[in-house]
Structures are given as structure tokens and as C-alpha cells.
């Protein structure tokens, strides 16, 4: 919708920041965990409602952003998805969130602030907004990662995340500075006149893009900038890992794809080497290292790296197929990951052995978890299959000479089956007495709903994609 390019996606950004503040203040008044959780759910419904009101042109706050933010169908749809996913996440894991420490309300507030950053990333039109979005999204995560104050691992993970995050932020800023030097602009939609004016420093533009590319690779944990991921995901309280691995990660990809959509031409030939190089390294680091893990949580951390490798395929065709694909992937991957992490948080033992015999003690958990795992592995009839399909197809649409890369990716997907199915094997085929904390019927119902959604999207991905075009 170019005629409204000046207007940002204001409702989602403003309301997500607002509800964060309300949540923080609410924490002073409300002391009971159940009350805090209820408030968080209500606030999220308000956020979703206000966003949908804008989506359907019922009500929105107009703010002149002078081209800093741009409203697009793509961004709006993505916001709908991540807000809904956050709602689902809070419904499913709200109890675990308040149990992490003594500051339940603050955890929710931080999640909402992080969500605010994600909504900025889906609508930025200017590199300064990109920077702001990335920082607003990640700084709350540093806190959330180390929120288990008495756990050394959690503290260590938070500090590591912060140190390495600062490093990558530095690179991002350097990239933006070079970009500015090359074009004289911060806007990603550069005008022709500005380009010509800076002809002498043209070399700085692609170099700046390269640095931004590297920094965003860090944010989405693409190799070889993925080293923080296993340590942080493993050290953070599981319930926050789930949030980081899904909503935050996919928002990073949206930022990536928006930049690539407009600027991949300026990278010249080099992205034809860099992109496959990074994809292969990411698939390798994620899939191969996951094989040897003993802890399911750590395995899922590596698997999220592997999935980043698949999502990078969308950059091959950022206009059309890749966009649809990244939507589908966001939904498929996030649903399955939120689900399987929700099961993980209920387990007393995070190793594979801890899952032994779960099918006998908790058949519903085992069955739904199986569907999540199958979707992560990309088995047909689950959403994960079509998500992967769209990713690989977007590479082939760009050029059939990418076939070799697609074959490599499929082989790595085959490797992933090995470590994913170990969970199913443990649940169904090994004797043991898997112990879980208390499971509420509402939790089970939600798991079944998520599993059903995965199957429905797996059977008819067009249901979701049609919404995108509706």
C-alpha cells in the first residue's frame, strides 16, 4: 500500500509499548500470580484487538513518521501472526513464566517490550528504525535470559548474550554508518538523486550492507555467528527460550527479508556466494551438532539454528515466494516450537532419558509432542513440510542452478530426523517412568488445538496463505 507509506503500523507499536507499561504498574498493585497472568492475557487481547482494528481499517492512530516506518500488508500480516503467537504462548506457558522468579509482572512487561521491537522490525523503512527495533527487541531478552537470579547458568547466559549482542550491535552500527557514507541516506528505499550524488563513495554501500547482513545473521543465529545460541538458549529459563526461539527469531528474519527485498541488487554478485555459504554453514552447524546432544533443550537450541538455515532460503526470492514461505515457516515453526517447549517445561528431566515412557504416563502430551516433532522434522501432512517446501522452492524459483543447494538442504533435513525422532523413540519405545509436573486439562486442550492447527495447515497451507492475500 504505497499511498500510505508515510504512516507507520502505529497501533501495534504504540499498544505493545503501552501494555508493557501497564503490566509493570499492574505488578505493583496485583500480587497474586494468577492475577498477573490474567492481566497479561487481557492486555494481549487488547493489543490483538487494536491491531486487528487497524488491519480492518476501523481505528488507528495516525502519526507522521516522515518515511521512517512503512505500512505494508506483509508487515501487518506478520504482526497479526506474532501477536497471536505471543497470546498462544502466554496462554500455554503463563504459569511457568510467573514461576521463574518473584517478578512475574516484569517478565510479562519485558516480553511486551520485546514484542514492540518486533513490530518495529516488521515496518521499518529506515536503518535507524532497524537499529531501534533490534535493540528494543533484544535488550529485554538479556534480562529475561538471566532472570533466574539464583541459577549461575542463567546469569552466565545472560551475560554472554549481552556481550556478544553488544558486539553484533557494534557491527550493525558500523554497517549503517558505511551505508550512510555510500548513499547519504538512512532510508532503505534510496532515491536515485542521492545515489548519484555519492558516486565517489559507492563502494561503501555494499560494504555497509555486508556488515548489516553479518549483524542480522547474528540475530537470527546463522553460522558462523551462531555461537551464542546454544549457550543462551540452554542457560535461559526454558519458558523464555521458547519465546526467543520463535517470535524473536522470526522477527529477525522479517527485518532481513525487508532489507533484501530492496537492497540485494547493491550487494552485487557477492551475495550469490555469501548466501549459500552461510546457509550451508548454518545447516551444518545446526544439524550436525544437534546429533550429539544429550539434552533435549540443547538439541532444540541447535535445531533452531538448523531452522534458521532453512529460513535463509527465503532471501533468494524475497518478493513473492519467499514472503509466503517465511509466513508459513513462521507459523509452522513457531507453533511446533512453542508446543514442544511447553511440553519440555513440564518435564522434570530435560535429557532424552527423561522422556522415556512418556507415552504411557501422559499419552496426550506424548501424542501432541510427536506431532510437533514431526512438523519440526518436516514430515508431510504437518505444517513443517510445506514450510520447508516453500523455502526450497523459492531458491529454485530464483534459479534452477540452485538445485545443488536444495539437495544439500534436504540431506541435512534427513539428518535432523535422527535427533528429532530420538524424542519420539524415547516417548514411545523406551521403558521408563517419565516424570512431569502437574498438567492442567486446559494445557492439554491447548496442546491438542496447536497440534490440530499444525495438521490443518499441513493439509491445506492455502488456508493461511489465502489470508495473506485476502
Amino acid at each position: 500500500m504505497p499511498e500510505r507509506a508515510e504512516l507507520g503500523v502505529m497501533n501495534a507499536i504504540i499498544f505493545s509499548a503501552l501494555i508493557g507499561v501497564v503490566m509493570m504498574l499492574g505488578g505493583i498493585v496485583i500480587k497474586s500470580n494468577a492475577g498477573i497472568k490474567l492481566l497479561a492475557i487481557i492486555l494481549l487481547f487488547i493489543l490483538l484487538g487494536s491491531h486487528l482494528a487497524e488491519y480492518y481499517d476501523l481505528f488507528n492512530i495516525h502519526i507522521q513518521t516522515h518515511g521512517m516506518l512503512a505500512k505494508s500488508r506483509f508487515g501487518m500480516f506478520f504482526n497479526t501472526i506474532i501477536i497471536s503467537l505471543t497470546l498462544l504462548y502466554v496462554l500455554l506457558s503463563g504459569d511457568e513464566i510467573v514461576k521463574v522468579g518473584t517478578y512475574g509482572a516484569e517478565y510479562f512487561a519485558l516480553i511486551f517490550f520485546s514484542l514492540c521491537g518486533a513490530t518495529i522490525l516488521s515496518s521499518y523503512n529506515n536503518l535507524l528504525m532497524l537499529f531501534l527495533g533490534v535493540e528494543i527487541m533484544t535488550i529485554p531478552l538479556f534480562v529475561l535470559t538471566s532472570s533466574e537470579k539464583k541459577n549461575l547458568k542463567s546469569n552466565e547466559a545472560g551475560l554472554k548474550y549481552f556481550l556478544m549482542g553488544s558486539f553484533s550491535t557494534g557491527i550493525l552500527l558500523m554497517g549503517i554508518a558505511l551505508y550512510y557514507g555510500g548513499t547519504g541516506l538512512f532510508a532503505i528505499e534510496a532515491s536515485k538523486a542521492a545515489n548519484e550524488a555519492q558516486q565517489a563513495f559507492r563502494i561503501l554501500l555494499p560494504l555497509g550492507l555486508l556488515f548489516i547482513f553479518i549483524s542480522l545473521s547474528f540475530k537470527v543465529s546463522a553460522a558462523p555467528f551462531h555461537f551464542w545460541t546454544p549457550d543462551v538458549y540452554d542457560g535461559a529459563p526454558s519458558v523464555f527460550t521458547s519465546f526467543m526461539a520463535t517470535i524473536v527469531k522470526t522477527a529477525g528474519f522479517i527485518a532481513f527479508i525487508k532489507l533484501f527485498e530492496l537492497r540485494s541488487v547493491d550487494m552485487g554478485y557477492s551475495w550469490k556466494i555469501l548466501l549459500p555459504l552461510i546457509i550451508i554453514l548454518t545447516l551444518l552447524a545446526g544439524n550436525i551438532t544437534a546429533v550429539f546432544q544429550q539434552s533435549v533443550k540443547r538439541m532444540l537450541a541447535y535445531s533452531s539454528i538448523a531452522h534458521a538455515g532453512f529460513m535463509l532460503f527465503a532471501l533468494y526470492n524475497p518478493n513473492d515466494f519467499g514472503k509466503q514461505g517465511i509466513m508459513l515457516y513462521t507459523v509452522a515453526y513457531s507453533l511446533a516450537t512453542i508446543g514442544t517447549f511447553a511440553v519440555l517445561t513440564k518435564m522434570k528431566d530435560y535429557t532424552y532419558e527423561g522422556y522415556n515412557g512418556l507415552a504411557k504416563t501422559k499419552p496426550v502430551l506424548a501424542a501432541t509432542n510427536t506431532i510437533f516433532i514431526l512438523s519440526l522434522a518436516g514430515i508431510p501432512l504437518t505444517a513443517g513440510f510445506f514450510a520447508k517446501y516453500y523455502m526450497l522452492a523459492s531458491a529454485l524459483k530464483e534459479s534452477t542452478s540452485n538445485l545443488w543447494l536444495v539437495i544439500v538442504a534436504v540431506l541435512f533435513a534427513a539428518v535432523s530426523v535422527y535427533y528429532y525422532f530420538r524424542v519420539i523413540q524415547a516417548m514411545y519405545f523406551k521403558d521408563g517412568n517419565a516424570e512431569t509436573t502437574e498438567i492442567k486439562p486446559f494445557f492439554k486442550t491447548l496442546l491438542i488445538i496447536i497440534a490440530a492447527l499444525i495438521i490443518v495447515i499441513g493439509l491445506m497451507p492455502s488456508l493461511l496463505l489465502d489470508l495473506f492475500y485476502a
Binding site: 556478544m164 555486508l210 555461537f227 550469490k272 550436525i288 539428518v415
Partner: protein
């Protein structure tokens, strides 16, 4: 009436569903009434349809498109004409009698198995009806596969006996070999002319090259070899006798095994265009007829004799098809259905009385214990031996006369086979019904005539065996060849042979005389002194069925098995497993090495990242060199 045509196959299907799904809750009498009732209803509709076709000709009824691809349209349509309406009568008529008979014969089974039995039987009738009613080769193939499945299910009906399961598997696999031929023929047609409808295919024969026609007809004939038990695919039929006796009567004598004859008759326009295939069909048929007859002479199991006799008679029918006597073949299908169903059901009655004893050497003298069975069985024996005026005489004569016109050698072998047929049938008859009883005292004590549900079908079939021939009395004997005239619209390539009346009289005289001599010898030889001891010398070869099963075992099954174990033990274990495990080991090894990069030290991580950035910048600077390097070598 046309509005009701779909009911003919639909009713047995409904019967199948009811009996199959509710078999545990329905009582035996309800199961029997539903199972037989639906067939009776189909028979009544078929009968009305038959007379309608007789008076006003056939037609094609289209229901919907089964497959609708770009250019290939395969409709779900029925072709109701003279040929199919005649088969409908045979299938539903004899089918009903056998259902009725089964109601008593299977009464010892538990409710559940009783229901399962009738469900299978109804499903069989449904498939068989689909086979003959379809208006294209694909619908026929559906029925073709359906009857094969039911045959498998019913042969292995008593599935707790492993040997029966092997017999069922053997039947299924042999049939599958044939089915492959059928399928290839259908694909060939689709590839060449893009249609499988009978009318379109027969109208488009000019679009085929003669090689196409020969290939298609031979492939179809391979299908027929499997289904109709011809050399070399006949060995499943004798083993199929493992199933309940009424099943042998219905499926393995009267109906399913004649599907091959139906198919070739249906395709008579194609077959008449290929001289090569016609010779092949005639020779295979004749060889099967003679070969199976020789085996039947030395069998001691009452059902095995009848099974080889069926193979032999099917060979006769193929001889008829091969020499262009399509009507003769169909006529023989009809009369054979009468007397062979009768003989099987009679054998079933004997087995029932003897408490599941099938060895003839332990029978003898049953004449006085089973009077109705005895008389009807004798009628069947006379009919199959070709003694006038019983039905077998007319149908056999028509085939033999056509064979003589084509080649006197065919006729000579045919007559020899007829003599053998008369001989082994009366050997069976004499050993079973004449002489003294040789069974145990307990068996003697329990000998009794079967209940009327079993004897009524016997009497009806016996009557049909007597008069069945009069439907098609040749002109030389003062008839009008009525069947000939009736079928002529459906069979357009009938070879009409002109022979003088005196020649025909001579041919008939010789075949009847030979048969009578064989009967007299057999009765004299076996009524007093039945063969009780094990066979010696050449007789032993015959008793062991020319060792064909052993031959197949050695040249096909064993080599296949050893090839299989070679692949399993060498290629799979060493090669494929080695590769697969090798990949697994490689992944595991690299996982262990890659894991070391994840040291947990932030300094190390940042060092890696800086190195990676330097490498990426290097790549970025030298992108053209690297790309040209790749394009050069990949």
C-alpha cells in the same frame, strides 16, 4: 428395466456390507437369507434383462466418469448386450444355487465365520458382475482384481491351516502374473488410441499396427492364462481346492475361471485380426486340456480330480476360442458351469457325508447311502463325458467340429482328451459310488444323505446338465443353433466352418464311441478293484502331476529366493547398510568434532566471529574470482 441395471451388482455389494459388518450380531439364518436373497434378486433382474436384450438388443449405460484426465476419459459404464446378459444369468443363477447350498454346507461354522463366508461370497459375485458388465477394459480390470481378491480370501478361508494359506498365496501370485499382462495390454491401448471402451477400441482397430494387435492380444491372453488356469499358470487351481467346496464350485469351476474366456470372447474382433495369437491360444488350450486330463487320471483326492478336470475343460474352451468358435466356447462355459458346479456340489455332499474325508480310496459303495447325490453325480459324469443328448455333448461337439475345420490334428488331440475325460470321470464315479464301502466303521455309521438345501441345488443343476445342450442344437441334428443366432450381434468374428453333414456325423460318432469305450473300461476296471496301492512307474509321474510344481519350485522359486538372500545378505548388509551406517558414523564423528567449537568461552566465540567476518570480506572482495572458479569447475 434399464433404470434397475445398477442394482444387479449393487445388491450383492449391499449384502457384502451387511454380512461383513454385522457378522458378529446377526444369526446364521439371517446371514444366509441376506446372502442368498440379494443374489436371487440380482438373478431375477438379470432374467428380465436377458429377455429384454433378446427382444430389443443391447446398449451401453453411462453413469459417470471414473477417470477424467486431459485426453483420457474412462467412464463408469455398463455394457448390456447378448454376451454379458448371458453371463449375468450364469453368474447369478448358479451363484444363487451355490449360496443356497452353502447355507447348509457351512452350518458348522461359528456365526462370525459364517457371516464372513457369505460376505466374501457376495463380494465375489459383485466383482464378477462388474467384470462382465463393464463397458471398458478398466471396469473389467476392477472386477478382474476383485474376483482375484475374493478367490484369495476364500481359498484361505480356514486361515488357521498354513497349507491353505500357502495355497491362497499361490493363487494370488499366479494371478498377479497374469494381471500384469492384462494391465500392460490396457496401457498399450491407452498409449496407442487413448481409449479403453470396447466400442471405441474395436472401431479403431485400423489405428493399430498388426504388431500392436498381436502384442495386445497376447498380453490379454497372458491375463487369461492366469485367471483361467492355462499352461503355464495353471498350478494354482488344483491347490485352490483348499477352500470350502461350494467356493470351488462357484469360483474355481463355474464362474471366475471362465473370466478369461469371457474377456477373449469380448475382444473377439481383436483376436480375429491376429493369426499368431489365435494359433497360440489354440495350442495352449489344447496342451492344457490334454496335460491336465492325464494328471486327473491318477489323482486320489476327489476334489483334485475335479480341479484338473476343470483345467482340462478350460483348455477345451481356449481351443474353441483359438479356432474361432467363440460361440462354442461360450456355450461350453455355460454347460460346463452346469455340470461342473453339479459335480463339485455332489463331491461336497459326499465329503459332508464322509466327515471331511476327501480321499476316494476310503470311499466306495456310496450309491446306496446317498441316492440323490449318486444319481445327480452320475448325470454330471455323463454330461462331462459328452454322451448325447446330455449338455456336454453339444458344446464339446461344436468346439471339436470347429477344430477339425481348422486342423484335423487339433481334433484328434481333442478327441483323445475327451476319451481321457470320460475315463477319469468314471474312475472317480466307480471308485466313489460303486463297490464296497472302505471307510472306517464310524464313518459308515454316520453316512447320510445331505439336507434338502444341498440336494435341491443338485437336482436343479442335474436337470440343467441334461437339457442345457438344447439351447444350441446344431443344424445337422435338426436344431437352429439358437445360441449362435442370439450371440451373433456381440460376436462378429465367428468363424463359420462349412462341413458336409456326413463329415459331421462321422466326427460325432467317433467322439461318442471313444467316450463310451472309455466309460466301459473305467467302470469295469474300478468298480470291482479300485486302485488302493501307491502308483508305480509312469503312473507315479502322473500322480505327482508331472512334477510341475517341483519344476517351478526349482527354476523360479528357489533361484528367486537365493537371489533375494543374496541381496539381503551381501548387497544389503555389506553394501547398503555399510553406506548408511558409514554416513551415520560420519555424522556422529563430525558432531563430536563440531561440538568442540562450542567451548563456552565468549572470547573464543568472538574470535571466531571476527575471523569469519574477515573471511566474508575477503570473499566479498574476490567475488568475481570465486564465482568464475566455480563456474569453471562445477
Amino acid at each position: 428395466m434399464n433404470q434397475l441395471v445398477y442394482l444387479i451388482p449393487l445388491l450383492p455389494l449391499i449384502g457384502f456390507l451387511i454380512n461383513g459388518l454385522l457378522r458378529k450380531s446377526l444369526s446364521k439364518s439371517v446371514i444366509a437369507i441376506i446372502g442368498s436373497g440379494v443374489i436371487l434378486a440380482s438373478f431375477v433382474i438379470s432374467l428380465v434383462l436377458f429377455f429384454q436384450v433378446k427382444s430389443s438388443g443391447g446398449q451401453i449405460i453411462n453413469y459417470f466418469n471414473l477417470i477424467n484426465l486431459d485426453k483420457l476419459v474412462i467412464p463408469f459404464a455398463f455394457q448390456i448386450d447378448q454376451l454379458s446378459s448371458l453371463f449375468l444369468l450364469i453368474i447369478t443363477g448358479i451363484g444363487f444355487l451355490i449360496h443356497l447350498y452353502s447355507a447348509a454346507y457351512m452350518h458348522e461354522e461359528t456365526n462370525e465365520h459364517y457371516g464372513r463366508y457369505f460376505a466374501y461370497l457376495n463380494l465375489f459375485v459383485f466383482s464378477m458382475l462388474l467384470l462382465v458388465m463393464g463397458a471398458n477394459y478398466v471396469i473389467m480390470f476392477f472386477g478382474w482384481e476383485g474376483v482375484g481378491l475374493c478367490s484369495y480370501l476364500l481359498i484361505g478361508f480356514w486361515f488357521k491351516n498354513d497349507n491353505y494359506n500357502y495355497a491362497a498365496k499361490k493363487a494370488f501370485i499366479m494371478n498377479r502374473i497374469g494381471d500384469l499382462g492384462f494391465l500392460l495390454a490396457v496401457f498399450w491401448m491407452i498409449a496407442k488410441i487413448g481409449t479403453v471402451n470396447y466400442t471405441d477400441v474395436f472401431a479403431a482397430t485400423s489405428n493399430f499396427s498388426s504388431a500392436d494387435i498381436t502384442a495386445i492380444t497376447i498380453l490379454l491372453f497372458i491375463g487369461a492364462m492366469g485367471k483361467s488356469a492355462q499352461i503355464p499358470l495353471y498350478t494354482w487351481l488344483p491347490d485352490a481346492m483348499a477352500g470350502p467346496t461350494p467356493v470351488s464350485a462357484l469360483i474355481h469351476a463355474a464362474t471366475m475361471v471362465t473370466a478369461g474366456i469371457y474377456m477373449i470372447t469380448r475382444s473377439n474382433i481383436l483376436y480375429s485380426l491376429s493369426e499368431v495369437t489365435q494359433h497360440l491360444v489354440a495350442i495352449v488350450g489344447l496342451a492344457t486340456a490334454l496335460f491336465a486330463a492325464t494328471i486327473a487320471i491318477k489323482q486320489n483326492d476327489i476334489k483334485k480330480v475335479l480341479a484338473y478336470s476343470t483345467v482340462s475343460q478350460l483348455g477345451y474352451m481356449f481351443l474353441g476360442l483359438g479356432v474361432g468358435a467363440y460361440t462354442g466356447a461360450v456355450f461350453h462355459v455355460m454347460t460346463h458351469a452346469f455340470f461342473k458346479a453339479l459335480l463339485f456340489l455332489g463331491a461336497g455332499s459326499v465329503i459332508h457325508a464322509m466327515h471331511h474325508e476327501q480321499d476316494m480310496r476310503k470311499m466306495g459303495g456310496l450309491k446306496k447311502y446317498l441316492p440323490i447325490t449318486h444319481i445327480t453325480f452320475l448325470v454330471g459324469c455323463i454330461a462331462i463325458s459328452g454322451i448325447p443328448p446330455f449338455s456336454g455333448f453339444f458344446s464339446k461337439d461344436e468346439i471339436l467340429a470347429a477344430a477339425y475345420a481348422k486342423n484335423p490334428i487339433y481334433w484328434g488331440i481333442g478327441v483323445a482328451t475327451a476319451a481321457l475325460t470320460a475315463f477319469y470321470m468314471f474312475r472317480l464315479y466307480a471308485t466313489t459310488f460303486l463297490g464296497n464301502f472302505r471307510g472306517s466303521h464310524e464313518q459308515a455309521h454316520h453316512l447320510h444323505e445331505s439336507p434338502s438345501a444341498m440336494t435341491i441345488p443338485l437336482i436343479v443343476l442335474a436337470a440343467l446338465s441334461v437339457v442345457g445342450g438344447f439351447f444350441n442344437v446344431p443344424e445337422v441334428l435338426g436344431g437352429h443353433s439358437s445360441l449362435h443366432q442370439f450371440l451373433s450381434p456381440a460376436i462378429t468374428s465367428e468363424v463359420v466352418h462349412e462341413a458336409s453333414h456326413s463329415t459331421e456325423y462321422m466326427l460325432m460318432g467317433i467322439s461318442v464311441a471313444v467316450a463310451v469305450i472309455a466309460i466301459v473300461i473305467a467302470i469295469n476296471k474300478f468298480s470291482k478293484k479300485p486302485e488302493l496301492q501307491d502308483a508305480q512307474g509312469f503312473a507315479k509321474v502322473l500322480e505327482n502331476k508331472w512334477y510341475v510344481d517341483e519344476l517351478y519350485d526349482n527354476i523360479i522359486v528357489k533361484p528367486l529366493n537365493s537371489l533375494g538372500s543374496f541381496f539381503k545378505n551381501i548387497i544389503e548388509r555389506r553394501g547398503i547398510d555399510g553406506m548408511v551406517n558409514g554416513v551415520g558414523k560420519l555424522v556422529n564423528y563430525s558432531a563430536r568434532q563440531l561440538r568442540l567449537l562450542q567451548s563456552g568461552l565468549v572470547g573464543g566465540y568472538i574470535l571466531f566471529m571476527v575471523l569469519a567476518i574477515i573471511v566474508l570480506i575477503y570473499v566479498w572482495i574476490n567475488d568475481n574470482h570465486i564465482l568464475s572458479f566455480f563456474y569453471k569447475y562445477f
